[in-house]
């Protein structure tokens, strides 16, 4: 278990070169996978492939035929189910099996992915290669789950503290939505950037980004899964090259983004769990410099987070409907259309259909299981409420959540311990990056603006 962005990918890239070993990396998010592949390619490594639903039929066929020639094979968990894939994989000699974001394996984790549960069986099919499970945030319970699911008997565990001493923690209690927006705007204008503001609503992220981009001197854009890929790439790259001051994002933004100088992370809504929160604030200050986390809290905010959770839960009626049509439906899409289930709900129910058999009242039973998960998820939200309302040190509370017992006393700790917010104020009057004229832009792109030698060669 390593903090976000501390070079987890090195843990499998290096051994691969030293041992000349072929590596299979299971990665849960398509965008993350694409980024990882591009990062390896940028290094000059060509023998890398991502097997995911972006591939066309032709590309997939081509890739599978030559699979044994790739050094790094990235794959999404749902692809591992396909017969043609496991056949192609059996022709390879995978010597290192990597599960990225391994906490997705745990039912108790915030990002549970049912597809991850079969990884243990797949590992055995591959001849039980050396297995590396990577995650940035995991409690003792989740770690136990990971070991069990991946059939790791007595694994070596490297656990790093969740504490990031260079990130100061602050909660801002507010009394109205208007005040929240007003406060956000003040922080955006004064605090050090680059920074990320996390929202749980795409729409709000879009609207506030547009409004504040126009009314403040800062360059702000929104980023979420609803944008087309081309736009997402541009915004991510603008942020990486410091052409943007702030990104207003949903949790879709951040994984796989290697930016060292992020100074401030603001949460506009209450995160759904301490794991998610720690992962998101962990994107700040990777360069080791002083950084800041601010959570904006309006009393009853937890209700919004809980409501979003409730929306994720399939109803008993939908579960029954699913049971009725699951054998006759021609595919996932048809089930989703007929039952109104989301893609994730559909996957969860398929998983339960596989492991929970022999129940006279299957739908009722599964409904109970799902309700139990909801209770656990609500407990996680309560943990965040405690973080917000505590009178004690917030840092101490975070490390306790992850079963760490060390006590921490440090300067610039949290607002309970006290720290001067002024030391996180950004350089005032940060020069406004205007859109340059098309003539100048074109000249810069093609280096026609400066007479520095090569034009003379021409």
């Amino acid at each position: 278990m390593l903090p976000t962005g501390s070079g987890k990918s090195l843990c499998y890239q290096l051994p691969s070169y030293i041992l000349h070993a072929q590596v299979l990396i299971v990665s849960p998010l398509l965008s993350l996978m694409q980024d990882q592949v591009e990062q390896i390619k940028i290094r000059g490594e060509k023998k890398v492939i991502a097997l995911n639903s972006f591939l066309s039929f032709k590309e997939k066929k081509q890739a599978l035929k030559n699979l044994q020639h790739y050094k790094f094979i990235f794959i999404s968990p749902e692809m591992l189910n396909l017969a043609e894939i496991s056949e192609a994989l059996s022709s390879c000699s995978i010597r290192l099996f990597v599960v990225d974001e391994a906490h997705c394996i745990s039912q108790w984790g915030p990002d549970f992915r049912p597809d991850y549960l079969q990884l243990g069986a797949i590992k055995e099919k591959l001849g039980s290669p050396v297995t590396l499970a990577l995650t940035a945030t995991a409690t003792v319970k989740i770690r136990a789950d990971i070991c069990q699911s991946l059939k790791m008997a007595s694994p070596d565990e490297w656990v790093y503290s969740v504490n990031r001493p260079n990130i100061a923690l602050k909660v801002e209690q507010l009394s109205s939505f208007q005040e929240k927006i007003h406060t956000l705007k003040q922080f955006i204008e004064t605090l050090s950037s680059p920074g990320i503001v996390y929202f749980s609503s795409k729409k709000l992220a879009d609207e506030l980004a547009e409004e504040m981009n126009q009314t403040t001197a800062k360059k702000i854009s929104s980023y979420h899964a609803g944008l087309e890929q081309d736009q997402r790439i541009l915004i991510q790259q603008q942020f990486l090259t410091d052409q943007l001051d702030w990104i207003f994002a949903t949790s879709a933004f951040g994984m796989g983004v290697n930016k060292e100088n992020i100074r401030t992370i603001i949460h506009f809504h209450l995160p759904s769990s301490m794991e998610a929160f720690v992962q998101e604030i962990g994107r700040a200050g990777r360069d080791g410099e002083k950084s800041l986390s601010i959570l904006l809290y309006l009393s009853k905010d937890e209700q919004i987070t809980t409501n979003l959770l409730e929306l994720e839960r399939p109803s008993l009626r939908q579960i029954s409907e699913f049971e009725k049509i699951k054998h006759t439906a021609s595919g996932l899409k048809e089930i989703e259309e007929k039952t109104g289930l989301s893609e994730v709900q559909n996957r969860v129910l398929h998983y339960y259909a596989k492991i929970e058999t022999n129940h006279s009242n299957w739908a009722g039973h599964v409904n109970q299981l799902i309700l139990k998960r909801m209770v656990e998820k609500k407990r996680k939200i309560d943990q965040m409420v405690t973080y917000v309302t505590t009178d004690n040190c917030r840092r101490q509370l975070i490390v306790r959540c992850f079963d760490e017992t060390n006590s921490i006393i440090q300067p610039f700790c949290c607002d309970q311990c006290g720290f001067p917010l002024e030391s996180y104020i950004g350089s005032l009057g940060s020069e406004q990056r205007k859109v340059i004229t098309w003539q100048n832009r074109l000249a810069s792109i093609f280096k026609e603006n400066e007479n520095d030698g090569w034009t003379k060669d021409y």
Partner: protein, 377 residues
Amino acid sequence: MTYLDAILLLCFRLFNGDRSRSAIFHLISGKKTSQTIQDAHLYGAHDFFQIYPHLSRKSFDQSCERLIMNKYLIEFQEQRWRVSEDGENALDAYFKNHPFPFYLKGWLYHDRATIFWKRLLLLSQSLSNYIHQENRFFPVQRDPDIQHWVKHTFLNWKDDRRKNTKKLYLELTKIFMKNKFPDHPDYIVQQMTGFQLIGQTPRQLADHFKTDESEVHIRFLNTLHYILTEIQDKNTYPILNSIQKDITQKEFVLTVSTEKTLRYIQQFYTIEKIAQIRNLKTSTIEDHIIEIALMVQTFSIEPYVELSLQDEIWLAANSIRNKRMKEIKDLVPRASFFQIRLVLVSKGRTDNKWKIPYLNTLDSGLSERVKKKSSKV
């Protein structure tokens, strides 16, 4: 009114209540079915084909609701809409203040424009990084076909890279500076990426120009289609032309089923015989033939409609305002509906009526005025 609203009004005007709202959605989002492709040509709306490829049904419906609420559309039959007097006036007013997209050629360019643009973006980024002596960068295009083409071109150019970079720069500048260039070059150039200079997204451009994304998109597309037309002159624009010269043959993309039918037609099978062999309805085979007539300019419809009947149908079609098939049928009772459709689509390939009412603004210099106005930020 947003730009999308205005485009929809233009489409509603062309379809004149003959088709449902969905037909317009399929047209501008570019659904490749025989029905949509036929509609596009039957009603002279092919230039609008796939001009909003990423449009969601939700945004489309919202736009329609807006038009209905403002009474720009009237429902004269259930689920059948026509542009009202108010709608016509609003449309005229709108295009007095916004450039009219004269150069849109959706049907002709939809695939080619997309590929050309993606190649141009990635090629410029690659060349820019190259001349800035940087060989590591994140490609702004992830499509493997595009990456492959750019890599291939880049390697091919080898010793000519600097020379060709300069040429590309000069060709782009030349085209942007043309008097006839239809809009502000910002819509193209600000989206381009170079060494440590990442392109703006359409949304950011909309923010910058204080307009809506649907306007940015069409103004961009209009200039892109203009550029594609211009660069067919390969002596003046050798580099730009080379970016798209291999795409041309992809123009006739038939659906798989139509492709099969075409093979039988080439062996001189009759419609009935093909239907029998393929175990399909004759009406389905007829739909395929219509699709082929649309796609393949050289496809002769004579085996299905003799020349004198073709003339008769076309004459009848032009004598009534709306090319309604039933009315044509009444005038030419001996023609079947299939024959009427076939004649309409094959003759409709060059129909430009959607822009005729605005042609006067093209010469009066109005577009120039609009251009200046909206580029001042």
